[in-house]
C-alpha cells in the first residue's frame, strides 16, 4: 500500500510566501474592523437615529368636527360615516395580470371576483364596461409599484344594504375594500343652508398658503404660526356660513402618536414594540367645539313653507331686544349635503356646476350678501329725519293727485291719496307726501337718520360676505355723477329708490331698533360655544351697537303710523291683517333695476320686470319681540305679496313660542273677507 502513497516533496518554493499571506489577511480584516469602528462607534449615533426613524411612524389621529345646533338644540350639522368601495385591480381581476412562465398558480388565485362585486354594486352596463377597461389597463405589469396594486375608487357613499351585502360575502370578494370616511351631514337639508354653510375639501391655493414648500422642515413655532389649524392635504374645511366663520372652533385638533412600523408598512404592537417608542411622545386629539346658533330651524321651516310659491327672496327674523337672529332665509337655496361630499365626488361636481349656472344664484345668501332698493320700507326713516329736523309739522297735510310732475320727470303714487298728513302718508304709503318731505328736509339729514339705524353699513355679522348697501348723500352723487346735482336724486332718497340699497338683515335690525325704542343691536348668529356634552365654553351676550340718536316722541309718532299700516282700514297692509296678531310694519314695492341677461330666457323676462315686494315689521306691536324683514324678489306689490307671507311668519313664531311654553297659540286666522280683496291696492306702474 505504501507504494500507492506519494513521496514527500520539497516545500521550499512556498516557504517565503506565508508571511506575506498573513500580512494580506491581517490588512484585509483590519480594514473591516476600521470600517466597523467607523459605522458603529464614530457614526453610531447617526445610524441609530436613522434606524429609529425607520421604525417609528408618526400617525395622525383624526378628530371629530363639532356639531352645529339650533337654539332649541336640534342638530343642524354633524358628521356621519360614509362607506366608499375600493378595489385592487390585480386582486379582483387576476386574469388581467400578465402570466409569468413557471409561476405556480395558487388555487384561489384563479377566479376573478370583479363580476361578483359589480353585481352587488348594481353597476349599469356602461359603468361596468368603463371599470372593466380601467382595471384591465392597470395591470400591464404586476411589479411591486405597478398600478395593478393601487386601489381604485369604484363607488362613494354606498347604500347601507350594499355595505351589508359586501360584508356578508366578504370571502367571495377578495380585493374589494370598504373604507369608512366621515361625511358632514345636514339633516335639515336646504333649510338654513346659507347661514349654516357647508364644508369642502381644502383647495390647493389655501393649502399652498398654509403649507408652503418645505413646511415640514420648519421649526414647530413657525409651523404653528403659518398653519395654526394644522391643515393637511385632503382636509375638510368650512366653506361658507357658520361652518366657515367658526371653523377654528368646529374643527378641533388632530392628535398624533408614534407607531412602530416594519419595512413592509405593517404596524407592530405588543411589549416589544412599545419598548421602542417614547410614551410621552403623543398628543390626544381635541374634538371640535359644538356651536349653538340663535336660529330656530322650525321657524325656518315655516318660512320655507310660506315662501314656497315664490321663486326668489329673503327673510330675516331677529329678536328685537337682543339682535339674535331667529331665521335667515334666502331663496333659491341648495342642499349642503350635495356639496359637502355626501353622495360622492360625482354628485358634488354635478351640483356645483348646476349651482354655478343657475342665474338666480342659489348659493348667494341674499339676507347679507344681497342689497336691494328698500322702496317704501324706507319711509319711516325719512319721516324721522323730517321730525328731527323740525322741517315740517307732521299734522300738516299735503295733497296727493296720484302723481307729481317735476320738470320732465313724473313721480307716480300708488293711487290718488287726497290730502294726507304724515301718519296717513306712512300708513297709506303716499309717495307724493314723501317727495315733498325730501324737498323740505334734504338728502343728507335723511341719510344721517338712516345711517343711525345701521342702513347702508355692514352689520358685522361675520358670517358670509356682507354687502354694505348704500344710503346716498350729496357727496356720493358729487363723486359718482360729477357735474350738476339733480333734485330728483333727493326725491328718490325719501322713498327708498334710486341709489338707495339695503340688505334684508340691515332692514330687520333697523325695524328692531324702531320697535325697541331706539337701540340698534349687533346681529348675532351664534349663541354659545359648547363641548360635546353640552357644557358651555363661551356664551355670547347681546351687543348693543348704538343708541339711535332720535327723540322718543318722534319715534313714538312713527311707530304709531307703522301700527296704522296694518291695523287701520286704509293701511296698506290692512288686507293682510291677521286679527290674532299684533303687528306693526311697513310695506314696500321697489322698482327693480334691469337685470343683465334677463332677456335671455323669454319665460323669465316677465318675472324679471316685476317689482320687488317688501314687508318689514315688528311684533307684537305693543311689546315687540321680533322684527321681520321680508323680500320677495320680483314678486310684485309689497301689500299683496310680501305682507301676507310676513303675517304668516309672525303667526308661526307665536305658535312655536306658545307651543314651547305649553300655552295655546294665536287663534286661527279668519277667511279673508270680500272687503279685504276689494281694497287690495294695485301695483304701482313700472318705473319711468
Amino acid at each position: 500500500l505504501s507504494e500507492l502513497l506519494v513521496p514527500r516533496t520539497d516545500v521550499g518554493e512556498f516557504r517565503r510566501r506565508f508571511k506575506w499571506m498573513a500580512l494580506v489577511a491581517f490588512l484585509a480584516f483590519g480594514a473591516v474592523l476600521v470600517r466597523l469602528f467607523q459605522l458603529q462607534v464614530l457614526e453610531g449615533a447617526a445610524n441609530a437615529a436613522t434606524a429609529h426613524e425607520n421604525i417609528i411612524h408618526r400617525v395622525l389621529i383624526p378628530t371629530t368636527r363639532g356639531v352645529i345646533h339650533d337654539r332649541e338644540g336640534k342638530v343642524l350639522a354633524s358628521s356621519r360615516p360614509a362607506y366608499d368601495l375600493y378595489v385592487v385591480p390585480g386582486r379582483v381581476m387576476r386574469s388581467a395580470r400578465p402570466l409569468h412562465p413557471g409561476r405556480l398558480a395558487e388555487p384561489d388565485d384563479i377566479t376573478d371576483t370583479w363580476p361578483r362585486i359589480a353585481d352587488v354594486l348594481r353597476l349599469n352596463p356602461e359603468e361596468r364596461a368603463r371599470f372593466d377597461a380601467k382595471l384591465h389597463g392597470a395591470c400591464t405589469t404586476d411589479e411591486d409599484k405597478s398600478p395593478c396594486w393601487r386601489p381604485v375608487l369604484v363607488r362613494e357613499d354606498l347604500a347601507r344594504d350594499v355595505v351589508a351585502e359586501l360584508k356578508q360575502h366578504e370571502n367571495e370578494m377578495s380585493g374589494a375594500e370598504v373604507v369608512r370616511v366621515p361625511v358632514r351631514y345636514y339633516p335639515w337639508k336646504n333649510l338654513g343652508a346659507h347661514a349654516i354653510g357647508y364644508v369642502s375639501e381644502i383647495d390647493a391655493e389655501t393649502l399652498a398658503r398654509v403649507r408652503p414648500p418645505g413646511f415640514d422642515k420648519l421649526p414647530e413655532s413657525e409651523q404653528q404660526k403659518l398653519n395654526p389649524l394644522r391643515y393637511e392635504n385632503g382636509d375638510i374645511v368650512g366653506a361658507t356660513g357658520v361652518e366657515h366663520a367658526w371653523e377654528s372652533y368646529l374643527r378641533g385638533q388632530r392628535g398624533w402618536e408614534e407607531r412602530v412600523i416594519d419595512a413592509r408598512g405593517h404596524y407592530r404592537t405588543g411589549p416589544e414594540a412599545d419598548r421602542l417608542k417614547d410614551p410621552s411622545s403623543k398628543q390626544d386629539p381635541i374634538p371640535g367645539r359644538d356651536v349653538r346658533l340663535t336660529l330656530d330651524i322650525e321657524l325656518e321651516q315655516s318660512i320655507e313653507k310660506a315662501m314656497r310659491v315664490q321663486r326668489a327672496g329673503a327673510v330675516v327674523v331677529v329678536e328685537v331686544r337682543t339682535g339674535r337672529l331667529l331665521a335667515m332665509y334666502s331663496k333659491p337655496d341648495f342642499d349642503p349635503n350635495d356639496v359637502s361630499g355626501g353622495g360622492g365626488h360625482e354628485r358634488l361636481r354635478q351640483t356645483v356646476s348646476r349651482l354655478h349656472e343657475d342665474p338666480l344664484m342659489p348659493t348667494l345668501d341674499k339676507t347679507t350678501s344681497g342689497s336691494f332698493q328698500p322702496g317704501s320700507t324706507f319711509k319711516p326713516f325719512a319721516a324721522l329725519a323730517a321730525l328731527e329736523e323740525r322741517k315740517l309739522d307732521p299734522d300738516d297735510t299735503e295733497r296727493c293727485d296720484g302723481l307729481l310732475v317735476f320738470g320732465r320727470r313724473v313721480f307716480h303714487c300708488t293711487h290718488v291719496h287726497g290730502r294726507v298728513n304724515m301718519h296717513e302718508a306712512i300708513a297709506e304709503s303716499c309717495n307724493v307726501y314723501f317727495i315733498k318731505v325730501a324737498e323740505a328736509v334734504g338728502m343728507d339729514p335723511i341719510a344721517k337718520v338712516a345711517e343711525e339705524f345701521g342702513l347702508g353699513e355692514k352689520t358685522g355679522l361675520g358670517v358670509n360676505p356682507e354687502a354694505a348697501g348704500r344710503i346716498p348723500t350729496r357727496s356720493f352723487y358729487a363723486l359718482r355723477f360729477p357735474g350738476r346735482f339733480y333734485q330728483g336724486y333727493t326725491m328718490n332718497s325719501a322713498i327708498g329708490e334710486g341709489a338707495t340699497t339695503v340688505t334684508p338683515l340691515q332692514l330687520a335690525l333697523a325695524y328692531a331698533a324702531l320697535g325697541n325704542g331706539g337701540t340698534l343691536y349687533s346681529p348675532e348668529l351664534v349663541r354659545a360655544v359648547e363641548t360635546g356634552d353640552g357644557a358651555i365654553v363661551q356664551d355670547f351676550a347681546p351687543r348693543v351697537r348704538r343708541k339711535v340718536n332720535v327723540k322718543q316722541e318722534n319715534l313714538a309718532r312713527v311707530n304709531d303710523a307703522l301700527y296704522g299700516v296694518v291695523n287701520e282700514m286704509k293701511g296698506t297692509a290692512f288686507p293682510a291683517r291677521d286679527p290674532g296678531l299684533d303687528v306693526a310694519g311697513k310695506t314696500g314695492t321697489a322698482q327693480s333695476a334691469p337685470v343683465a341677461g334677463a332677456d335671455k330666457d323669454p319665460r323669465m323676462a316677465d318675472w324679471y320686470r316685476a317689482n320687488h315686494a317688501w314687508f318689514a315689521a315688528y311684533a307684537p306691536a305693543k311689546a315687540p319681540e321680533i322684527a321681520v324683514a321680508l323680500l320677495v324678489e320680483h314678486g310684485g306689490a309689497g301689500p299683496t305679496v310680501a305682507a301676507p307671507i310676513a303675517m304668516q311668519i309672525v303667526r308661526e313664531y307665536e305658535r312655536l313660542t306658545a307651543q314651547r311654553a305649553g300655552k295655546p297659540g294665536p287663534p286661527p286666522k279668519p277667511k279673508p273677507t270680500p272687503l279685504a280683496v276689494r281694497t287690495t291696492p294695485a301695483p304701482p306702474p313700472p318705473a319711468p
Binding site: L1, S2, L5, P7, F14, M21, F29, Q40, I55, D262
Partner: protein, 380 residues
C-alpha cells in the same frame, strides 16, 4: 493494540485550536441565524434547525475526511475534479431556476449546489498539479497555463449559471494558490498588462446588467437608496445601530422590523452586528482572522507540497468568503452574493466549509510523521 495507538495518536495530534475555532464560529452562527430568522413567519423560521442538521452531518463527513490520509486525495485529485465538472454540467440539465439563475440540483428533498463543492475540488486539483510540478526557477506563463485551464473550466460554467460571486471566489482561490508559487517577474508584468486590457472587455461583454448595477451602486451608493442600493444602505444602518455593545440578542430593530434583506443568506453579519455591537464584531472578525492565520500556519508546517497547497487553498476559501461578505455588508466592497462561512444558512455552503476544515485538520494532524507512512490507509 494498533487501534489504541491510532487513538492516542489522534488525541496527541488533534488540532484543538482549529477545532475550537471552527466550532465556536458554528455555534455563534446558529445562534445568530435563530435571531435573524425569528422575524419570519414562514418556513424560514425553522432554518436554524436545518442548519444544525447540516452542521452535524458536515461534522461527520469532516471527521471522515480528516481520518483518511490526505495523500489519498492527492492520488484521486483529477478524478474528484472531473466529478465536480460533471456536477456543474448537470446543473444545466437538472437545475432549478431560482431568481433567474440555476445553481441547484435536487436530490430527494435536498438541493445541492455543486459550485460550492467545486471550490474544494479545484483546490485539490491545483494542489495535485503543483505537487507534481516542483520548480526551482520562477514559473513562467507557460508553466501556469495548465492550472489556469483547470480554474477556467469551472469558472466559465459557474458564470453561465450565472453566479458571479462563486466565479469570483474560484478565481481568487486560484490567485491565492498562485501567489504561493514563485512566478517570474516578466510573467507577472504580462499578466498585469493583459488584465488591464481584459477588464473593460469583460465589463462590456460578460457581465449582466444587474451585476453591473451592483458595482455602479457600490461606487455611488447614495444615488439609488431605494433601488439596488437599498440592501447595502439598510445593512449599514443596522450595523451602525449596533453601536459599541449592541442592541442585545434578538433585539436589533432593523432586523426585527424586516429592513434587512436576505438576513439568513447574505446578510447575517448585519444581524449579528446589530445584536452584539462593535465588541461582538471584533470577536467575530478575530475568529475569522484566526482561522486564516491558522491555515497559513498549517500550510507552513505541512510536510509536503500537496498539504501546503491544500491548507492555503482552504484558508483562502475561508478568507475570501469572509472578507467579501464582511466587506459587502459593511459597504467597503460591492454587493456580491458571497456567503459568510458557518454564518450563512445553506447546506452546501456548510458542508463545503466543514469538509475544508476537515482537510485542514487532516494536513495538520499528519505534519508529525517523520517517515513515509506504511501500511495503513488510515494514515499509519
Amino acid at each position: 493494540m494498533k487501534n489504541q495507538r491510532l487513538l492516542s495518536q489522534a488525541r496527541d495530534h488533534f488540532d484543538w485550536a482549529l477545532f475550537l475555532g471552527a466550532a465556536l464560529l458554528a455555534v455563534i452562527g446558529v445562534v445568530n441565524l435563530y435571531s435573524a430568522t425569528s422575524v419570519s413567519r414562514d418556513a424560514l423560521r425553522e432554518v436554524y434547525v436545518q442548519q444544525v442538521y447540516w452542521l452535524v452531518f458536515g461534522g461527520i463527513i469532516a471527521t471522515l475526511v480528516a481520518a483518511i490520509d490526505y495523500r489519498h486525495y492527492e492520488r484521486l485529485g483529477y478524478a474528484l475534479y472531473g466529478f465536480g465538472i460533471v456536477l456543474l454540467v448537470l446543473v444545466f440539465i437538472l437545475g432549478r431556476d431560482i431568481r433567474g439563475s440555476s445553481r441547484w440540483i435536487n436530490i430527494g428533498s435536498f438541493s445541492l449546489q455543486p459550485s460550492e463543492f467545486m471550490k474544494l475540488f479545484l483546490i485539490i486539483a491545483l494542489a495535485k498539479y503543483l505537487h507534481d510540478d516542483p520548480k526551482s526557477e520562477g514559473r513562467t506563463l507557460k508553466d501556469l497555463a495548465v492550472p489556469a485551464l483547470i480554474v477556467a473550466v469551472p469558472m466559465v460554467l459557474v458564470l453561465k449559471q450565472p453566479d458571479l460571486g462563486t466565479a469570483l471566489i474560484l478565481g481568487l482561490i486560484f490567485v491565492s494558490i498562485c501567489a504561493l508559487t514563485r512566478i517570474a517577474w516578466r510573467s507577472l508584468l504580462t499578466l498585469a498588462v493583459s488584465g488591464a486590457v481584459l477588464v473593460p472587455l469583460v465589463w462590456t461583454y460578460v457581465l449582466k446588467d444587474y451585476q453591473k448595477s451592483r458595482i455602479t451602486v457600490f461606487l455611488n451608493p447614495e444615488a439609488n437608496i431605494l433601488g439596488t442600493g437599498w440592501h447595502a444602505h439598510h445593512a449599514r444602518v443596522a450595523i451602525g445601530n449596533g453601536g459599541l455593545f449592541g442592541q442585545g440578542f434578538m433585539r436589533g430593530t432593523q432586523n426585527q422590523f424586516l429592513f434587512l434583506p436576505d438576513q439568513h443568506s447574505d446578510f447575517p453579519f448585519a444581524v449579528f452586528a446589530e445584536d452584539w455591537g462593535f465588541a461582538g464584531c471584533v470577536l467575530l472578525v478575530l475568529l475569522y482572522g484566526f482561522l486564516c492565520a491558522w491555515s497559513i500556519r498549517i500550510a507552513a508546517t505541512a510536510k509536503d507540497r500537496f498539504g501546503a497547497v491544500l491548507a492555503i487553498g482552504v484558508g483562502s476559501l475561508v478568507f475570501w468568503h469572509a472578507f467579501f461578505n464582511l466587506g459587502m455588508v459593511t459597504g467597503i466592497l460591492p454587493v456580491v452574493g458571497v456567503t459568510l462561512p458557518l454564518f450563512s444558512y445553506g447546506g452546501s455552503s456548510v458542508l463545503t466549509v466543514l469538509i475544508g476544515v476537515g482537510l485542514l485538520m487532516n494536513v495538520s494532524m499528519r505534519r508529525f510523521y517523520v517517515s513515509p507512512a506504511r501500511g495503513s490507509l488510515l494514515g499509519g
